[in-house]
């Protein structure tokens, strides 16, 4: 079986440091005028550890997907740097890049759109293998069969086309494809939200088992907090391009600090009708990232906003071990090991 030789469970695999991604907004064709920048990701730092899941949650437009694209090296940050196994992506030479491409893979939300309808399942799964490594036909075939087996698919499925499969099976094919290069990190962008409810648990369980077997790291992007709680080791809550709170799922869901995290948790739907907790209804919606509010970008919707919040941006600081938040409500508390 394939087994990646991973470092210890606490070793960092990926680190983002002060990463920003700004997109210029231009107008006009000949005389291009800059109308400003969209700060899709604005100064975020976090680390993904070997064999663990780091999750990003937040509403649409908060920069989760842009962050994942930088982790995949599809986009390069405007400022700051992404490190993979301690090495800056900007310093990569050709060989490093080639290794990186096999070590990092992605699974996307929509298994109807992410699989080429004109390719057979075996070529879909083998495509990354064939482009990344020199293998004989027999080796490729053995590996495809092995992957199908791990995914709970039948070897006969290899010669079929994507349209012959249900959503859950397609997502299994997409995962098999991502696994084929024996990656260290898989970016999971909403991996179950397009699937039927009764199928979601199957796929989540499969992902968890694969993580244990192959010592995989996941960067999970999801809006369903229960999924995040189930899958993650560390969670970052994003709002308008910034991580506003980070903690372990246990800590985050039992002791959320940032008002936005509290609102997200209260807005998530209850698992039982008797569980109608404290309700924080936010007014309005996420402001445009082209023109983010001054001070703390959440102050326009925050039920606890003070005068200070509209003027001064809060510092992202550690409140308890492993629990960071950027909010003026906690500014006066003693900081432990400022990070």
């Amino acid at each position: 079986m394939m087994q990646t030789d991973g470092a210890g469970p606490t070793a960092e695999l990926v680190r983002m440091e002060g990463v920003k991604k700004h997109y210029p907004v231009t107008m006009g064709l000949l005389l291009r005028k800059n109308r400003g920048v969209v700060k899709a990701v604005d100064d975020i730092s976090f680390a993904i550890h070997g064999g663990q899941t780091y999750s990003l949650v937040g509403e649409s437009g908060c920069g989760k997907t842009t962050t994942s694209r930088m982790a995949l090296m599809v986009e390069r940050p405007t400022e700051g740097e992404v490190y993979f196994e301690g090495k800056a992506l900007g310093q990569f030479n050709g060989a490093d890049k080639k290794t990186f491409r096999t070590a990092v893979q992605a699974v996307f939300q929509d298994p109807w759109g992410s699989l080429n309808p004109r390719m057979r399942v075996d070529s879909i799964i083998a495509e990354p293998l064939v482009t990344q490594r020199r293998l004989t036909k027999l080796e490729v075939k053995t590996q495809v069969n092995e992957l199908l087996d791990v995914m709970g698919l039948h070897p006969l499925h290899a010669s079929r086309y994507p349209h012959e499969f249900s959503g859950g099976q397609r997502q299994r094919i997409a995962i098999a494809r991502a696994l084929s290069t024996r990656p260290r990190l898989i970016v999971l962008d909403e991996p179950v939200s397009a699937l039927d409810v009764s199928i979601r648990a199957q796929i989540l369980n499969l992902l968890k088992q694969l993580q244990q077997t192959y010592f995989l790291s996941y960067l999970l992007i999801a809006h369903n907090l229960a999924t995040v709680r189930y899958m993650s080791h560390q969670v970052g809550v994003m709002y308008l391009g910034k991580i506003v709170e980070e903690a372990s799922p246990d800590e985050l869901f039992t002791n959320p600090l940032h008002p936005y995290t509290k609102a997200l948790i209260s807005a998530s739907l209850p698992a039982h009708p008797r569980q109608q907790g404290e309700e924080i209804v936010l007014t309005g919606e996420v402001p445009s990232p082209l023109n983010p509010p001054s001070g703390c970008s959440f102050h326009t919707r925050c039920p606890f906003a003070m005068d200070r919040c509209s003027v001064e941006a809060p510092v992202y600081q550690q409140i308890a071990p492993g629990h960071k938040v950027s909010c003026h409500l906690y500014a006066d508390e003693p900081t432990i090991n400022p990070a």
């Binding site: 009764s198 648990a201 807005a267 209850p270 698992a271 008797r274 309700e279 209804v281 007014t283 919606e285």
Partner: protein
């Protein structure tokens, strides 16, 4: 207080006739909706929940046909109504709430026109009276300065305000029944909460009964009084929300409820339902859930009847036969 049902669906069967097969999208379902009540219809894709909604509204697309049963609205069978009569009932009697409240407004008409247009369907009042009524409606859904807002275009309003306009349109003809088909699936969590609260508020003001069609038990838990769980075109369990969550009596309901991770507990592996939902044009004989059911036994080759678990709580599962 909730005596006579406002809507009574009995043994409704809606089939789709394709060239090669007959798809039994809705295979004989019955339920009742009482005044002011919120009924949730939960199911996966292909379970027949949207076809149920279309059937009630008389909008089943071809090659679909309602082949059996009855839909009684205020005691009258909708299946015997002419197209013209149905047009009157749609909107005034039974109204569909649009799927995505953020994109369902027409961008080239101002909101005043869009609200008035709906009301003009069944009233020959003057334009100015209708505009006054539109102002009232906007005020009802808490839009500030409603008079001035009549001339706003959708792009000039925030998403929250557009939601409210859509809400105002859906109640403009004072329907008795609102059907909301996956009204919030495309929305972010905090926006979803705003919209659900708006629907509740509209319901409190108008006393309309709501049918919520969803795949999400979370929405049911937050919004509904009663639930019907659909699987492969049939209602497999129907109960009060509390009873259903406390005492799920069909293996499918039980499995679904257990497979949704909670926010307040740590689990190592989720108990999941194996297999996939059956293809609606090739249903297994007997209980359609049997191939995925961990309790399935020899009796399941026949379709189970409805068993009464407790008052107002029914489930279609042979296991209840032994319990009785």
């Amino acid at each position: 207080m909730q005596d006579e049902p406002i809507l009574k669906v009995e043994d409704l069967e809606t089939y789709f006739y394709t060239r090669t097969s007959v798809v039994k999208a809705v295979g004989g379902i019955s339920f009742e909706l009482r005044k002011g009540e919120t009924l949730g219809i939960v199911g996966e894709s292909g379970s027949g929940k949207s076809v149920t909604a279309w059937s009630i509204l008389g909008l089943v697309p071809k090659p679909g046909r309602i082949v059996g049963g009855s839909i009684l609205y205020q005691g009258e069978n909708l299946l015997e109504k002419s197209d013209a009569e149905m047009r009157q009932i749609r909107g005034r009697g039974i109204c569909m709430v649009m799927q995505n409240p953020l994109t369902s407004l027409n961008p080239v008409f101002n909101v005043g026109n869009q609200i008035v247009e709906t009301m003009r369907m069944d009233s020959n009042q003057s334009a100015s009276t209708l505009r006054e009524r539109a102002v009232e409606l906007l005020a009802k859904v808490h839009i500030a300065a409603p008079q001035a807002r009549l001339n706003s275009f959708p792009h000039q309003m925030s998403g929250g305000m557009r939601q409210r306009v859509v809400g105002a349109i859906s109640i403009s003809r004072s329907p008795n029944v609102l059907i909301a088909d996956e009204p919030t699936t495309s929305l972010d969590a905090t926006i979803q909460l705003q919209y659900l609260k708006l629907l509740k508020e509209i319901q409190a003001q108008t006393g309309a009964a709501i049918i919520f069609i969803t795949h999400d038990f979370g929405i049911v838990a937050r919004m509904c009084d009663r639930v019907a769980v659909m699987y492969a075109g049939k209602i497999v369990e129907q109960a009060n929300v509390m009873d259903l969550f406390d005492n799920p009596s069909h293996p499918y309901t039980e499995g679904l409820l257990r497979s949704v991770p909670g926010l307040d507990q740590d689990v190592d592996l989720l108990p999941s339902i194996e297999g996939q939902p059956p293809n609606p044009d090739d249903l297994p004989p007997g209980c359609s859930f049997a191939p995925r059911c961990s309790y399935a036994y020899d009796k399941c080759v026949e379709y189970p009847p409805e068993y009464l678990i407790e008052p107002d709580h029914v489930a279609r599962c042979w296991m209840r036969d032994d319990a009785n």
